[in-house]
């Protein structure tokens, strides 16, 4: 059974005074298997953000549905929503969204504290994770004291600490320099190799080339998809670039 099943999603925004209607998502269907690493690519306005917001249950589709672990998101009651997000989803944002009021360690603990866990338990979970992400020695620092790459790795730790079913990453390399980006993408690869399901929305060909599968979104529809298969990351990079070129020309992709 698929971990995430998205079927026939449609999202129509109505402008404030009811005049124009904008169809952000037309008809999006795809599924993600447990342990998969999927990237979603598309230009600005292709509906990426809308899709991610719906997957994160921050927004509701006009029609169609999303199943996580076989359970429709629409059936979760509003008051259970936060707890659901906390336990099943992990978020990594483009601009990190770390809170300046907390040390990095406390930022990572935030979801656990919200869930009411014991401090000893939290510390036990954090130890190996921090080691793994290479942030063990900066945990007592504050977000404004460390680099972007370090911030993003802490944000990843915050996403992973609840052991979520799926990590949703929104342009995770968007605010990073190339070195930090590479390191983060390698990390995503490793985490995925350990069995963590990742769904990443990105602009970056390089970021997408790390994923096992790339979905291309255009004008609110899944337009094409590329499996990486056995090819290297460099080969995949080339294939994605080619696809994007074709997409940009407006032609049909031919596989």
């Amino acid at each position: 059974m698929s971990l995430l099943e998205v079927s026939h999603l449609q999202k129509i925004y109505t402008t404030r005074f009811g005049g124009n209607q904008v169809e952000a998502l037309k008809n999006v269907s795809f599924s993600v298997e447990p342990g998969e690493y999927v990237a979603i690519m598309g230009e600005s306005g292709s509906g990426k953000t809308t899709l991610l917001n719906i997957l994160a249950a921050l927004d509701k589709p006009t029609s169609g549905q999303v199943l996580l672990g076989g359970k429709p998101l629409s059936e979760i009651r509003e008051r259970d929503m936060a707890a659901f997000r906390r336990t099943n989803l992990g978020f990594v944002f483009q601009d990190f969204n770390l809170l300046d009021t907390f040390s990095l360690q406390d930022n990572i603990f935030l979801p656990l504290v919200l869930a009411g866990q014991e401090f000893g338990e939290m510390e036990r979970v954090l130890g190996p994770l921090a080691e793994r992400l290479g942030i063990g020695d900066i945990l007592s620092k504050y977000p404004y004291e460390v680099s972007g790459g370090q911030k993003q790795r802490c944000a990843v730790a915050r996403a992973l600490i609840t052991n979520p079913q799926i990590v949703l990453a929104d342009e995770p390399t968007g605010a990073l320099d190339s070195r930090a980006s590479d390191r983060l993408l390698d990390l995503f690869g490793e985490i995925n190799a350990d069995g963590q399901t990742i769904l990443m929305v990105t602009h970056s060909v390089k970021a997408a080339s790390h994923a096992q599968r790339v979905l291309f979104l255009r004008d609110g529809e899944v337009y094409h998809q590329l499996y990486r298969g056995e090819s290297t990351q460099e080969e995949q990079f080339g294939r994605i670039s080619d696809t994007l070129t074709v997409l940009a020309r407006g032609g049909e992709a031919n596989e």
Binding site: L98, L99, D106, Y144
Partner: protein, 667 residues
């Protein structure tokens, strides 16, 4: 578009767009200007009668003028700097977009011009509207029967325009300087710079605790009113310093200690709350301290002057056993000594001849002199000094006349001792220069003998003594030897009659009554209760008016700071709560946590102010004895009442401003 009109227009648009901040600021300028105009105009009230009690009006209003002027300078400068901090980014953007600093200066100049125009004209107009109301209130409180018609005081308008013009100009220059020294990129970055975690400043925390402790210690240990007067401002200063340190560093130290306690800290509510408050404390500590100090000032001023005002009747009762009083100072050693019985009879008789019935109701005699306590003995002094006390001695029969208690029987060398703050003692030893010491021993305390409620306006502690006739004479002789000439006249006799007050004029009586046959005396003063009460109310009523008036101004300032605090926190918190919701915080947890934090931070200044007032209480009751208010219960009730009313107003302000805050956070 014409360039000449562009900048003035832009200034107007700026003010409108920053309306959330500028409208309250403008209202404050207007309110302060109105208050300033009113005090100036009342101080310059034309055609006042030339009596001393009307000169109090001018005096009180001049004090008010001075306080409001100082307050306006400090408060408007503070508010202006707050506003400019918020606008740094906007001004930086103008600079980046190609406006020269000169052009920004023109825009700021225009903004100041608009503010000055609206603030001063609006303030003067508001002042004129309220002037009559203030005058009516003042006349009522000061028991003045003349209610003046409406008049416009040109000099007050000019004075208001000058003061506020200068303040606003000064602030404009400050702003221009700020812009001048900053480069645009800095300006742009400023408001988005990451907020550092506040450091615990231990020296400040220690100073704060020490200053606050010292201030409280002074308040609690000061026993005499004279000392209270001298130490009051020192105590106030210490408490103000302590309050600032308390909010800026002690609070942070405490919160950090809470955070270090992991079991406590890592619970949902504490986690968000403690970290949020730590963050807030840095930004708002000074604002909170300001709110606290302003609140304390309002509470102290209003409760003090209110109890003074309400205590007036009781204080008058203490001084007037009957409504006509004669005070006579005399030397009993004169050849033809003062004959009190003759005076009583003469006054009654002569008044009855004029058709005014005047029955003598009470009379007593007492001896008073100053002493300094040296080497365990009370040494008689001619002049009063800061460490002096006063001795007020009377015989058992006079004591009975004053209190209505039964006449105590006392052996020579025994005393009944009543003190106003000096503490109870077993023995008192008097030292009179070369003469031998006189030591008195207190008789067993006896509930049959209440303290004599007689009036002794004194800035120092008073020992009220009841001694046998023989000891009374001994004291009299002793102090006379010690003081020589000056000692002779220190015997005082007070006599009281009940008369129809509307029929007598004390000043006129002093001139026209024939006192032959009363022996020789040094001074004789006649007063009626009502004439004295007028004098009394023009003082206490003036204080009360000033207390309430200045209290209202300070309250306005506190409200404005509270409002700014809520709005600026609303903007700060908006993003933080968005992020927390994204990582899985329930909206209702968000609301609950916001609520707790707001409540704690909001009511902390009020709680600290209440503690200040509690410590100030004993100091204030001492000070009030200077104005012959000896009613601690009344002062307590007034303080509690003022605190309750203030608390309600504060809570209302909280509700209104919290709504503005939630609107921001929810958006």
């Amino acid at each position: 578009m014409n360039k000449g009109r562009f900048y003035p227009r832009m200034a107007l648009v700026n003010l409108a767009r920053n309306g959330q901040f500028y409208i309250p600021y403008l209202l404050t300028v207007m309110g302060t200007a109105a208050a300033y105009y009113i005090t100036l105009a009342l101080a310059a009230t034309p055609d006042l009668p030339q009596t001393s009690r009307y000169s109090y009006l001018t005096m009180f209003m001049s004090i008010g003028t001075f306080v409001i002027a100082v307050f306006a300078v400090i408060f408007l400068t503070y508010t202006n700097s707050f506003l400019m901090k918020r606008r740094k980014r906007e001004l930086g953007l103008y600079n980046v977009l190609g406006m020269g600093k000169r052009h920004i200066a023109i825009v700021l100049g225009c903004e100041t011009l608009y503010t000055a125009f609206a603030g001063i004209i609006g303030g003067a107009a508001l002042g004129m509207l309220l002037q009559k109301l203030a005058m009516l209130l003042l006349c009522r409180m000061m028991r003045m029967d003349i209610v003046y018609g409406f008049y416009v005081s040109d000099s007050a308008i000019v004075g208001t325009a000058i003061l506020f013009g200068v303040i606003l100009l000064f602030n404009l220059l400050l702003n221009l300087h700020r812009i001048h020294v900053q480069n645009p990129m800095e300006l742009l970055r400023e408001s988005s710079a990451g907020e550092r975690e506040p450091k615990t400043r231990w020296p400040l925390a220690v100073i704060g605790v020490a200053a606050l402790g010292a201030g409280y210690a002074i308040a609690v240990t000061t026993r005499s009113a004279m000392m209270a007067l001298g130490m009051y401002f020192i105590a106030v200063l210490l408490v103000i310093i302590g309050t600032y340190c308390l909010f800026t560093s002690v609070s942070i130290a405490v919160l950090k200690a809470l955070r270090a306690n992991k079991k406590f800290y890592y619970q949902t509510d504490h986690f968000i709350g403690v970290s949020g408050m730590l963050y807030r404390m840095k930004r708002n500590a000074v604002g909170l301290a300001n709110i606290c100090i302003l609140s304390t000032m309002v509470l102290v001023m209003v409760s003090g002057t209110l109890s003074l005002y309400l205590g007036s009747e009781a204080a008058l009762d203490e001084q007037f056993a009957g409504n006509l009083r004669a005070e006579v100072r005399y030397d009993p050693a004169e050849e033809t000594p003062f004959d009190s019985a003759a005076l009583s009879a003469i006054v009654s008789k002569q008044l009855e001849q004029r058709g005014v019935s005047a029955a003598p109701v009470a009379a007593y005699r007492y001896l008073s002199f100053n002493v300094n306590e040296e080497q365990g003995a009370l040494e008689v002094k001619k002049y009063l000094s800061g460490s002096s006390s006063m001795v007020c001695a009377m015989t058992p029969s006079d004591y009975a006349a004053i209190t209505g208690a039964e006449t105590p029987s006392l052996a020579d060398g025994q005393m009944l001792l009543f003190t106003d703050g000096a503490g109870q003692r077993r023995n008192l030893t008097f030292r009179f220069a070369e003469a031998t010491d006189v030591t008195l021993t207190a008789a067993e305390p006896d509930s049959r003998y209440p303290a004599p409620r007689m009036f002794q306006p004194s800035a120092v502690d008073v020992f009220y003594l009841v001694v046998s006739n023989g000891t009374f004479q001994e004291l009299y002789v002793g102090q006379q030897t010690a003081l020589g000439e000056a000692g002779g006249e220190l015997m005082q006799w007070n006599g009281f009659w009940n008369v129809d007050e509307s029929a007598v004029q004390p000043d006129e009586l002093e001139q026209t009554l024939d006192f032959t046959g009363t022996g020789s005396w040094a001074r004789l003063d006649l007063d009626t209760r009502s004439s004295f009460a007028q004098e009394y109310y023009s003082l206490n009523g003036g204080f009360f008016f000033l207390g309430v008036f200045l209290g209202a101004i300070f309250l306005m300032a506190a409200v404005l700071i509270i409002y700014y605090k809520q709005i600026s926190e609303g903007y700060e918190d908006r993003e933080r709560y968005l992020v927390m919701q994204k990582v899985g915080m329930e909206p209702r947890t968000v609301r609950r946590s916001v609520n707790t934090q707001l409540l704690v931070v909001f009511f902390a200044p009020l709680a600290v102010a209440a503690i200040h007032v509690a410590f100030d209480f004993s100091l204030m009751t001492r000070l009030l004895t200077l104005f012959s208010l000896h009613n601690g219960t009344l002062t307590l009730l007034c303080t509690a009442g003022t605190l309750a009313v203030f608390g309600v107003i504060y809570a209302l302000v909280y509700r209104v401003t919290a709504r503005a805050y939630y609107k921001l956070v929810k958006a």
